[in-house]
Amino acid sequence: MAQVYPAATAAPAAAPRPSRRCAATSCRNCGDWRAWAPSESIPEGIRITMVGLWYVLLSVLVAVAATNTGNNALYGVLALMFAVLILSGVLSRQNVRGLAITFDPPAEIFANRPFALGFALRSCGYLLPRWLLLLKPAVEARPVLLPFVPRHGRSQGRLEMLIPRRGPYRFQYAHVASLFPFGFFRKGVRYHLDLEVLVFPEIFPAAAGTPEEPENQGADATRHAGWGHALFALRGFRRGDDPRGIHWKQTARTGEIVFMEREAEQTRRLSIVFDNAVGQLADEAARRRFERLISEAATTALDHLARGYEVELVTRGQTLGFAAGVRQRLAILELLAMLAPAPRRHDPLTGRDPRASQLRIHLDAGSPEQPAAPREQQHVQVIAAAGVREERGRPR
């Protein structure tokens, strides 16, 4: 929903107060450390409103009456109406010019999910404040209303936005419009922004591809200490060790407190094999299916990472090895955000760890062209076009 923001005069300013006049082209001299957008505005045209149309019609009517009667009082009214019209244009133009606008996008933006985009708008004008500004970062975005920005003042806040597609998204312009002063015209200008964000794939509420955990989960040693069952090493007791881990027999034998370190069990792993070798996508429906599969992969990856899994993402041309944590989450999202269809290939795409759970995703899963999963893989689930899960193998 669009918001209304009053002037942020009371908002705590992180930057020191401006002490010098803005330069003509930018607000870099305002004392704010942030790089403000240049204040050159590009006209976006002027649109007459219904009120403006009525005003023009009335002006024509008065003009006809004045011409017909030669009554100078009516000429005076007509002159005044024209003067107001001219003033409206001048004030409207002045109102949307001389602004410096910055946007502060959030760290993660997902497709089709609303997000709050921080903005700050500074009026570089010393003569007049700014009234009734409608600001939006993109043409398709819903505007935010700034009823009043004081002279050389600043207004900041957040506006809600939604980007429907994954991938790079460029905020090329900030669009500012205003009906001020008399509502006759809607004057619009845009300001260069050149701000680019990476939109991650859409995340579904629940992942369609949730492979079962293999039965041998924890059977393999990891060769480092942990909380598994197998013995990893015996060592002297240190402060902070859990007393329950004291090896009493060895303690009795050696006379010193011996601590039994256990070996960590094998981490739970998921390999997401996304075969993007689908060739040229034929139509919009195929493209939608492809996007949906990417979203399924992202949803599954995020879901498993959140549950402590190490997740591997294998695609044609780029593979992210098993890892967990925030960095892996970002890496997977970035890879999936930029993933594009690759030329068709028939060689199978496999994960690095054949014993890990595996989610195989391909646009043409189940079709004769798509090679079957290797027999040695224990847990393989395939997500086909519409997110239908298909069991392709059972653990031996």
Partner: protein, 722 residues
């Protein structure tokens, strides 16, 4: 039995989402529209378009509406109720049109508009209703403006403009806030008082040139002068038929009729007599105008020669519309330049236009030293100046007695003295009968005003065979300090006698006692105030009400002349400068050449090109000084100091990309300019504290920043020097 309560309309609840189409911000919008509606018809009763009772009733209804709007009740007049009220007005409207106003449309239409507006105000429940009400207000405003001629209408115009702008701005705010689902009126309370004041002022100023330039294709329509639509009293003294009290009616008014400016040197005349119309036939207590004798010949230059006498001086006259064809001319007039194609002259020598002019007329008049009376010499055949209508035996007997024996000139003078000394001047005619007013004046009441005196003298002269006629015009005048003109008002209207008195010919006789002659007006503060108001109203009449196509042409000509003179200034100076350069011997030559060269040098020095170049140079110097001051000024923040440091580094050969972080800047500066590194590091440290730490630096810190910046600059300078 309990009755179920109906829910309140959604529009009445502030802060609650209103139903589609319902009025949002209803209280504020109603108050704004109501105030504008209260103001709109204010001039109408002054213009006699509606009566004061109608305006009072309307104002009471609007005030009631405003009080109700202030309380903001939920229930207002429904649309069907408004329609019923509209239907109820139909018989009233018919009565108004057919009986009260007897077929005149303007009054009933305005009454209907006011009634409809009041009904609409009480039925403002939807968004579109407010615009319909505003439209109605606008038409009332147009009616008020279109029928107004008084200068004070400017005050009304300004007030209406300011209130309209407030309304438009607030409605725009409410509209946008409503679109954003915000029904809190506090959001619209943004400071815009100064904007409104300045916008109204600028709009009025901007309207002035627009008013002057809007193309006029029709003659300005003059409703009239004076109050409102204006009575036409001023025409009564100079129409084709005048009664004996017409001048009396005019003299009650103090409106300026003529403005006279003397051209050339010489003291302006204190007393001037302007002849406007002559009357020969007296019928039943009123005079019939002398018919036109023919048209005057138009000479080259638009000049009409009245007499072969050469003019000894000239005056410029500005004539306000008289509602008469009469062209008032001084009795000394011999030439007139009226900017008209034709002029008529009657047998009595009074000059008139072909048609009654509706706008201000300017004309020049050439004057002789003495009065030049242009009446035709009476012939042997029956002459209208000897018409004995209205002459009774009693009048003839009195005339014979008063005139005595002698030549007609002496007789006429004796009669003039007799009337002015034996009769009194009065403007009180209450109770007098109109059966035989001249006889009543001479034998019963023995008092009257100028027309009685003049009429009596004309009849008495005719009774004794002396040709005579009544003349109306203006006498006297006053000097207006504000305008520098002599002005003649309606109160200067006068009537006198022209008689053909042998052996002198046509002569002026004024039998009115001195107390009744409209000579010099009284002096004092009141006169000054009157003259100041005349100054304003004349300009209002001249440059607003009667501004027309010819005035526009004059404006364009004036602009064109100014433009050419400006261009000519450059060309002339250029030519003179070239002439100076071509003088043999140049600046060092002797005698005449030297003097010429000296003057030429001065001309060349004062040439506009040099002046323009000098101004540009001064501007450049000012810009340079500003830049220097800006550079030398102590930075007010560490951020500014840091930015200046970066500029200094760039000038010293260390260009840094905008993305370079402060610490990277410091590191690079240290590697390239070790001498400046400690100072640069101090500047950067302060900058980081201020920008990233959000710390507001104290004055000692700022002084330290300044010192560090200076040290860094010195280090960089040493490096550059080495």
């Amino acid at each position: 039995m309990s009755r179920e309560r109906r829910p309140r309309p959604a529009a009445a609840a502030p802060g609650r989402p209103a139903a589609a189409g319902h009025l949002r911000f209803g209280r504020e919008k109603r108050l704004l529209v109501g105030m504008l509606a209260l103001l709109a018809p204010l001039p109408l009763p002054f213009n006699d378009v509606v009566g004061w009772p109608v305006l009072a009733a309307y104002a009471a209804a609007v005030i009631l509406f405003l009080r109700r709007a202030r309380r903001d009740p939920p229930r207002w007049l429904p649309v069907w109720g408004m329609n019923v009220l509209g239907l109820a007005y139909l018989p009233l409207g018919a009565l108004d049109l057919l009986v009260i106003n007897r077929g005149h449309l303007v009054g009933p239409v305005v009454h209907l508009g006011l009634y409809a507006l009041v009904c609409k105000l009480f039925a403002l429940t939807r968004e579109r209703d407010k615009w319909q009400a505003v439209l109605g207000i606008f038409f009332i405003f147009l009616a008020a403006m279109g029928t107004s001629v008084h200068p004070t209408i400017v005050i009304y115009l300004g007030a209406f403009l300011a209130l309209s702008l407030i309304l438009l701005m607030r409605l725009t705010y409410f509209h946008v806030l409503g679109d954003f689902g915000r029904d809190d009126p506090a959001l619209a309370r943004v400071p815009m008082r100064w904007l409104l004041a300045s916008t109204s002022g600028v709009a009025l100023l901007l309207a002035v040139p627009l008013f002057a330039l809007l193309p006029r294709v029709r003659t300005p329509f003059i409703v009239g002068r004076g109050t409102g639509t204006g009575a036409v009293l001023e025409a009564s003294g100079f129409s084709d038929a005048v009664s004996l009290d017409s001048i009396d009616q005019i003299r009650l008014s103090h409106k300026v009729v003529l403005r006279i400016r003397h051209e050339g040197p010489g003291a302006p005349r204190e007393e001037m007599r302007f002849k406007a119309a002559t009357y020969d036939l007296y019928r039943g207590g009123s005079w019939q105008r002398t018919p036109p004798h023919g048209t005057l010949d138009r000479r080259p230059g638009g000049r009409f020669q009245l007499s072969p006498v050469a003019p000894a001086g000239w005056i410029s006259v500005t004539l306000q519309p008289l509602r008469s064809r009469s062209l008032p001319l001084p009795v000394e007039a011999v030439v007139v330049e009226p900017r008209m194609s034709t002029l008529e002259i009657d047998q009595g020598g009074a000059v008139s236009f072909g048609i009654s002019p509706l706008e201000v007329r300017d004309y020049r008049v050439g004057l002789a030293v003495r009065p030049v009376l242009l009446g035709m010499v009476p012939g042997p055949q029956p002459d209208p100046t000897l018409d004995l209508s209205g002459v009774t035996p009693r009048i003839a007997a009195l005339a014979k007695l008063a005139m005595g024996q002698g030549v007609p000139l002496d007789q006429a003078r004796r009669l003039e003295r007799h009337l002015s000394s034996s009769y009194g001047y009065t403007l009180d005619f209450a109770g007098r009968s109109a059966d035989n007013p001249i006889e009543d004046f001479l034998f019963r009441y023995k008092s009257g005003e100028c027309e009685y005196f003049a009429s009596a003298m004309v009849l008495m002269l005719r009774s004794q065979g002396v040709p005579a006629r009544l003349v109306t015009g203006f006498l006297g005048g006053e000097f207006n300090l504000f305008e520098g003109d002599f002005v003649l008002r309606d109160s200067n209207a006068h009537a006198w006698v022209e008689a053909y008195a042998e052996p002198a010919g046509w002569q002026i006789f004024d039998p009115t006692p001195p107390a009744g002659r409209p000579l010099q007006s009284s002096r004092g503060v009141w006169l000054l105030a009157n003259q100041a108001w005349d100054f304003v109203s004349f300009r209002w009449d001249r440059y607003v009400l009667t501004y027309g196509l010819y005035d526009q042409l004059q404006v364009f000509n004036w602009l064109q002349a100014r433009w050419h003179s400006l261009l000519g200034l450059f060309h002339r100076h250029g030519a003179e400068a070239r002439a100076w350069r071509s003088v043999p011997g140049g600046a060092g030559a002797t005698s005449a050449a030297g003097a010429a060269s000296g003057r030429g040098a001065a001309v060349a020095a004062l040439s506009p090109w040099w002046l323009a170049a000098g101004a540009a140079g001064l501007l450049a110097l000012a810009a340079l000084a500003w830049l220097l001051v800006r550079r030398l000024r102590r930075p007010a923040t560490a951020t500014a100091a840091y930015r200046r440091l970066r500029r200094q580094l760039a000038r010293s050969g260390l260009p840094l990309p905008p993305s370079a972080a402060p610490l990277a800047v410091g590191a690079q500066a240290a590697s390239r300019f070790p001498a400046a590194a400690p100072a640069a590091a101090r500047v950067i440290d302060f900058y980081l504290r201020e920008s990233f730490g959000g710390e507001r630096l104290a004055p000692p810190d700022l002084a330290a920043v300044d010192a560090a910046l200076a040290a860094a600059a010195e280090g960089l300078r040493l490096r550059r020097a080495s």
